[in-house]
């Protein structure tokens, strides 16, 4: 590893952890959400350093998208002004802090103390292609399980979050020309 890349790694590492801490320290919900997005982007960039190009870019893509949506939910549901307002919405701060530190000591200690085995095997020439072949070949079963799971999630989330079905919107025989908006006349019927 060249010194330049090493420096890049450390910068990204510091950014990712600092942004992660900022999530629970800043006063604004928008800032908290986007701090998390920065943390993800930094980790995605570290993945790029580890030659995981596809996974790294996908992480950035998905997480930025997710945080953009999350910001809306934060502002919608937090019972607080989304402006730059000092906020403290924590319970059991000390206990959580102690526990989190404990987790860190155990994990980091483990990482440093364990005698990691030597590297086995060499990475494939084109990692993205090899990933595609794994997904479509030997590990197909994994993806076959993941996709119905994702679909089930979509359906379940919609069922949970939507109070009204399509019959409420399009009438008893689904015949209404335009869907009724929520809260409009006849909605409760």
């Amino acid at each position: 590893m060249s010194p330049v890349l090493d420096a890049v790694f450390w910068v990204l590492a510091v950014i990712s952890v600092a942004a992660g801490i900022a999530v629970f320290r800043v006063d604004s919900m928008a800032r908290a959400t986007y701090a998390l997005a920065v943390s993800f982007v930094a980790v995605g960039a570290i993945l790029l350093l580890l030659n995981l190009e596809y996974i790294g870019v996908i992480t950035i893509l998905m997480m930025v998208m997710e945080m953009a949506v999350m910001a809306i939910f934060m502002i919608m549901f937090m019972g607080m002004n989304p402006a730059l307002m000092p906020m403290s919405m924590v319970h059991n701060k000390v206990g959580s802090l102690v526990l989190a530190l404990g987790v860190f000591v155990v994990l980091a200690g483990g990482a440093l103390l364990v005698d990691w085995p030597a590297r086995r095997g060499e990475p494939a020439g084109d990692l993205t292609r090899s990933l595609g072949e794994a997904v479509m070949g030997s590990k197909m079963l994994v993806m076959l399980t993941v996709s119905p799971l994702l679909f089930a999630t979509l359906v379940a989330a919609l069922v949970l979050a939507t109070p009204r079905g399509r019959y409420d919107r399009f009438g008893d025989d689904l015949r209404a020309a335009t869907p009724r908006g929520p809260g409009e006349q006849g909605d409760q019927a």
């Binding site: 604004s28 928008a30 800032r31 986007y34 997005a37 190009e53 596809y54 870019v57 996908i58 950035i60 893509l61 930025v64 998208m65 945080m67 953009a68 949506v69 910001a71 809306i72 402006a83 730059l84 084109d126 990692l127 993205t128």
Partner: protein
């Protein structure tokens, strides 16, 4: 590394930046010229608009607004230009490219998702109702255009069997992808217009909300955002050329000339569409995007997959 693609060093990055700037200014000049014609003034006076507007915004002061989240606001304002530059990094100019990533197509996609966050931040940071509504509108619109756009990007990648932009260009030696992927091409172009907050997909900066995300911007901030919009359009046009229009292939002239010529042609069409179509409200867009456009792109992908397997 793909055959025939040369990665250029730091100097190339500077060249790419300058080139993007020139193309973006040309786009602004073209838009000004079209506008002037439409208003019945001399075309040339409209074409000079970017110079006058640039000078005007450089002279104008920036605003400070009570309780604005300046940090996030400024990130959003500067971010669009940065994202456009990062997009251009994977667009080949003839045989040269700044970064020939093995996942160039996904990289482009990741960068246009960044626009989600940035436009919303511009709307959010200003602490103004009109700007915030603009930000919300953009996210609502993004939920409609992003999925069709992703699938439209997938088409050329499947046909070329690679996510590397250089490979995609090389795979079009015999036949440009636009010929047998017209739906994907059109959807991609619509996606470019949409993530540039432009024309029919410019509801986030609509006149009805006093300019929306632009409402509170003045001076350099406004200049950066407007430039960012044109730069995004330019980057999108360049990528459309690489993905669907055979990159630099063409007779007589060197390939970089062809890339530029094609890019400018696509860009002119994207810029011009603004005057031709009314703005599409995001709630109207959602229905069409999910019920008509998305299945159409999926059918296109099915066709592409069939051809590739054959």
């Amino acid at each position: 590394m793909a055959e025939g693609i040369i990665q250029v060093g730091p100097l190339g990055t500077v060249t790419a930046t300058v080139l993007l700037g020139i193309v973006a200014v040309l786009a602004a000049a073209f838009d000004g010229a079209v506008g002037a014609r439409l208003q019945g003034r001399r075309t040339l006076s409209g074409a000079a608009a970017p110079v006058w507007e640039g000078a005007r915004l450089l002279r104008q002061r920036r605003r400070t607004i009570v309780a604005a989240d300046s940090l996030l606001w400024r990130i959003g304002v500067v971010g669009l230009l940065v994202v456009a530059l990062l997009k251009v990094a994977v667009v080949p100019l003839g045989a040269w490219t700044v970064a020939d990533l093995s996942v160039g197509v996904v990289w482009f996609n990741a960068m246009d998702v960044m626009v989600w966050a940035l436009v919303w931040l511009v709307g959010w940071g200003a602490n103004s109702a009109h700007a915030l509504i603009g930000g919300y509108r953009f996210l609502a619109q993004a939920l409609s255009y992003e999925l069709p756009l992703m699938f439209a990007l997938t088409g050329p990648a499947i046909a070329a069997g690679s996510l590397r932009v250089g490979d995609v260009v090389a795979a079009q030696d015999e036949l440009w992808f636009v010929v047998w992927m017209p739906v994907a091409f059109l959807v991609f172009c619509a996606g470019v217009v949409a993530f540039s907050v432009w024309g029919p997909f410019g509801a986030a900066a609509g006149k009805d909300i006093a300019g929306g995300v632009l409402a509170e911007l003045s001076g350099v901030d406004r200049l950066l955002l407007l430039a960012g919009r044109y730069a995004l359009l330019s980057a999108g046009a360049g990528f459309a050329v690489a993905l669907f229009l055979g990159g630099g292939s063409g007779p007589f002239a060197p390939s970089w000339v062809w890339t530029l010529v094609k890019t400018l042609a696509v860009l002119a069409a994207l810029v011009g569409v603004r005057r031709l179509l009314p703005v599409v409200r995001p709630d109207r867009l959602a229905e069409v995007a999910w019920i008509v456009v998305l299945p159409a792109v999926l059918l296109q992908l099915l066709l592409v997959s069939f051809v590739v397997v054959q």
